[in-house]
Amino acid sequence: MTGETVRIAQLSCGPEYSGVQKEIYAAAEAVGAEVFFPDLSLADIKRNFRDFGLDVRSGDLKLAIARAVALVEGAADADAVFIASCFRCAEAAIVRNELRRYIHEYSKLPVVSYSFTERTTSGTLLTRMEALTTIARRRALLARERQTGLTMGVDSGSSTTKAVVMQDNEIIGTGWRPTTEVIASADDAIALALEESGVKRDDLDAVGTTGYGRFLVGEQIKADLVQEELTVNSKGAVFLADCQHGPSTVIDIGGMDNKAISVLDGIPGTFTMGGICAGASGRFLEMTAKRLGVDITELGPLAMKGMGDDVPMNSYCIVFGTQSLVNALAEGHSKENVAAAACHSVAEQVFEQQLQEIDIKEPVVMVGGTSLIQGLVRAMGNLLQTEVVVPHHSQYIGSVGAALLSSGFVEKSG
């Protein structure tokens, strides 16, 4: 990380008492940021709290509200905002949600909200903090709309590793491998992409990495850009879906966790990441395909032929989800209907757990490998009552974003 320290304002209730404040400090420090509490007088607290109008009882939530108002009104300075409260607290959840929405609407500050338990570690918070600092530090880079020169992006994900070579704003080669050994999988995917594009590694002007293995792969291939997937995927999504201006919503249901990102002019404003259980991720669909005896690529078309409405399925937890899968098949439901129900269940989990935390603005763009499962896209569209956009190369979204953003380093070095 380069650049000046990014100052992240913390609006919270409970982390000190849950033993997780230290983890918040550690995550911020790891990405060159510092967490601080906006300073106010008691009179300001009382006025801001009253003006905001959400009459909560908890003093620390009143303080969080007053601090949010101070940030929006410019009475306190920050580069980004981190909102945190206890998991399972209804009062705090309401405040968290409303503050996130308020800050997003009335300021340009990137904001992320998180509900923690005493088990939350700095590792869990790291990508979120990194995204906050990226948005604060690299606004100019994130504003890039065209890919220039010859660049490559590598997305080292938890399930698959993808590589894309781009030249003069066009994709000229792609490659993907299941992620086994991180560096070996990246080498294989890169070799495939280079082969398809007909260029050599040395010909590339710049390289970018993203995804879980970004640091390891980035170091190995001497990447110019190593950046978390929240900002990179947003950029890739709006680039491919041709909606770089104005608002959009990016949904990426991944192999291990999901991202829902509210984007404005290609830059994430609010985002959520995670999911309670793999039951709400691509992993559950992989299991479903295996159980149905079909390849994952066939699951989507299968689901499109089925109606999931009369198949009871709840993948809130992957164990119970699998159980209902087994039960449904035992009860004689068709493969098509079970596939459709599994898609609906995953979409429903993402909808209930994550999409409530961001503002859904059209167009809604679905990306990542799971966006190729048509049944899942249809289920999401039904839940959101909108036509979901799946751009070409949507499974390569992180690699495209990384190739596009890394071209920012071409001009610099040239």
Binding site: E29, F36, P38, L42, I45, L63, R67
Partner: protein, 151 residues
């Protein structure tokens, strides 16, 4: 925030001394505290003092300071020693949450001061002790009467 901070001043207590008086300023109570400070550590603040040391010594200094204006000097325990980097405003970027609570109570502490002053003159003490106020409001019957009356 990085370094592990070993327990400072283990076995001591820290107390806040707040002053809200027309007779004495925070400077005055500091001067008075220093007269008998002995082994205790005294830190002057905008609202008064923070005194750190062995409990009985801190109490001794506080008794001496209180004599200056008993009804207008207030004392409270503090968990942290003064200047602790974990609670210092400079490091947090803003005041610790407890500060606002004190600011809130200091906003009406004069009412307590009057109460303390009047303790010495029993004739001023109201007959009834603090009882819960009747907040049940009007009976429906009485409310109806009033509505009819106004109509």
């Amino acid at each position: 925030m990085k370094e592990v901070i070993p327990p400072l001043y283990a076995g001591t207590v820290t107390k806040y001394v707040f002053i809200e008086s027309y007779k004495a300023t925070p400077d005055d109570i500091a001067a008075r505290a220093y007269e008998v400070s002995g082994g205790v550590m005294i830190k002057e603040t905008c609202f008064g003092l923070q005194i750190t040391g062995k409990e009985e010594e801190v109490e001794r200094v506080i008794s001496h300071v209180r004599e200056l204006d008993p009804a207008h000097i207030y004392v409270k325990d503090r968990g942290f020693p003064p200047g602790d980097p974990r609670r210092c405003r400079a490091n947090l970027g803003g005041a610790r949450p407890g500060y606002f609570g004190h600011e809130h109570e200091m906003g009406f502490i004069r009412r307590i001061a009057i109460g303390l002053e009047k303790l010495d003159s029993p004739s001023d003490i109201p007959a009834s002790e603090s009882e819960q106020k009747n907040t049940e409001g009007l009976s429906v019957k009485r409310l109806m009467e009033l509505i009819i009356q106004e109509a």
